[in-house]
């Protein structure tokens, strides 16, 4: 395959508290590069456009098939996983920036602890130990319900939806769309539904569901096409019913 020159602009930051700066690179590479493989190629010879040898760019990557979510960053201004961003389909110079709304650790590496915090807050898990017989399999569910639930199970915690959300960020306690969608998924699980009330109460507190502003950017940028706004509407209905139960009983 013929090589071509690829023009890159990368926003770099040396330390969490230092000032970011831009560096430009032109590297010769194959046309079928994605952003992760391009950064790997750059790492072998990190020389800027002005000939200065610099520290290799720091970023995260893992699966290379858009299922782990580790490599999400801002590519030409859009939050997306970099493994599935093909160089041939991007306008040059390609601008790479760290995923916004999350604290930068170094260069394109961000601290995504808040996603995990959100998942913990909504109890996005299934308790398999309980007072019921855990040896028996979970009740079966119908294919249409399974198909609807499957959409939400594709979430890889990449954080793109949260980066694009105008209500999420350092200024607010909002959980963001991804943890909310997991609450929707776990509430529908045959075993997980036993903790539905607990999850609903968790999202009816500060930073919960009602901090959503319905700008719906999340569903536009989600690389896995998860119906996040439908999850938010469904949780709206579940919390409405829960509110009535909380006020008038029974729980």
């Amino acid at each position: 395959m013929t090589e071509q020159s690829i023009h890159l602009r990368i926003r770099r930051q040396d330390r969490p508290d230092s000032t970011p700066y831009w560096q430009e690179f032109v590297i010769s590479g194959r046309a079928d590069h994605n952003i992760v493989s391009l950064l790997m190629a750059l790492r072998e010879n990190p020389v800027t456009i002005s000939g200065q040898r610099v520290d290799p760019v720091v970023w995260e990557h893992n699966c290379m098939e858009e299922v782990c979510g580790a490599c999400a960053m801002l590519i030409n201004g859009v939050p997306r996983p970099s493994c599935s961003a093909l160089v041939a389909e991007l306008d040059q110079p390609i601008r790479l920036e760290p995923l916004p709304k999350f604290p930068v650790v170094r260069d394109l590496l961000v601290d995504r602890t808040r996603i995990d915090q959100g998942l913990k807050q909504v109890k996005a898990w299934i308790k398999i130990d309980g007072v019921w017989d855990t040896h028996e399999g979970a009740p079966r569910i119908g294919p249409s319900e399974w198909a609807a639930n499957y959409l939400y199970s594709r979430c890889m915690s990449c954080g793109c939806c949260m980066a694009a959300c105008p209500q999420f960020g350092a200024h607010s306690a909002f959980l963001g769309p991804a943890p909310l969608a997991q609450a929707r998924l776990m509430n529908a699980h045959p075993t997980g539904r036993y903790d539905k009330t607990e999850r609903l109460h968790a999202i009816m507190a500060e930073g919960g569901l009602s901090d959503c502003g319905n700008a719906q950017n999340c569903v536009r940028v989600c690389p896995k096409e998860i119906p996040l706004t439908t999850a938010i509407g469904e949780l709206g209905r579940q919390t409405t019913v829960q509110l009535l139960k909380d006020i008038f009983g029974p729980r």
Binding site: H171, A205, S210, G213, A215, Q216, N217, G236
Partner: protein
């Protein structure tokens, strides 16, 4: 006790949402319908519309508890919500993102308009009874100034937009519309409601000038 009641966060947001429609939104619709009767002339408007309302029993109580207090809460809490907005319109130029931004900006605009609007009609009327006795003449004199007419048009359109768009997002918030299709369809229903209310409002404004 249950968590969602102990913690007022959720209740306050839902109260803000509910009050926006009932009674504030409902009052806006009533107010526009009432003033569209300016079309039938000064005598009809002053005697059958304004005087009939002013003659209602317990009117001040209703003005305070059905209009002023819900409106003040909706506006005040709305400003708290607006402080959380970090809209990046250039980066995410989607229609819903623009509407999200417009909902908050229009809220601030409506608040400024209402200070002027309520001040020069209802509040002015408490000092100067002639304002209420010939409200048609008072409005006609005000709206004859082009800039004032422009201000009223902007205030009207912002209010109607805020109600119609608020209705669309309210349906999502309360869980009435969940699927993309339902949200889109109801969005268009709200556009229709907004256009009809705007037409009724403009009809009423023009009635004062005829």
């Amino acid at each position: 006790m249950s968590a969602s009641i102990e913690n007022p966060h959720f209740l306050l947001r839902r109260l803000h949402s509910l009050l926006g429609l009932l009674p504030v939104g409902a009052f806006l619709i009533f107010h526009l319908w009432e003033n569209s009767q300016s079309r039938f002339g000064a005598e009809h408007y002053n005697e059958h519309v304004v005087a009939a309302l002013k003659g209602m029993n317990y009117l001040p109580l209703m003005e305070i508890f059905v209009i002023a207090l819900p409106l003040l809460f909706h506006a005040g809490y709305g400003l708290v919500i607006t402080a959380q907005m970090r809209a990046e319109l250039a980066r995410y130029s989607y229609a819903r993102n623009r509407l999200y931004w417009m909902q908050r900006i229009s809220g601030i605009g409506i608040l400024l308009f209402l200070l002027q609007h309520v001040g020069m009609t209802r509040i002015a009327g408490t000092w100067d009874p002639s304002v209420g006795d010939d409200l048609f003449g008072h409005m006609q004199a005000m709206l004859s100034q082009p800039w004032m007419l422009g201000l009223y048009l902007v205030g009207l359109l912002l209010s109607v937009f805020h109600l119609a768009n608020g209705l669309a997002s309210m349906a999502i918030v309360w869980g009435v519309t969940t699927s993309v299709r339902a949200q889109t369809l109801f969005g268009w229903v709200c556009v229709l409601i907004g256009v009809l209310l705007a037409a009724m409002g403009i009809h009423g404004l023009m009635g004062f000038l005829s």
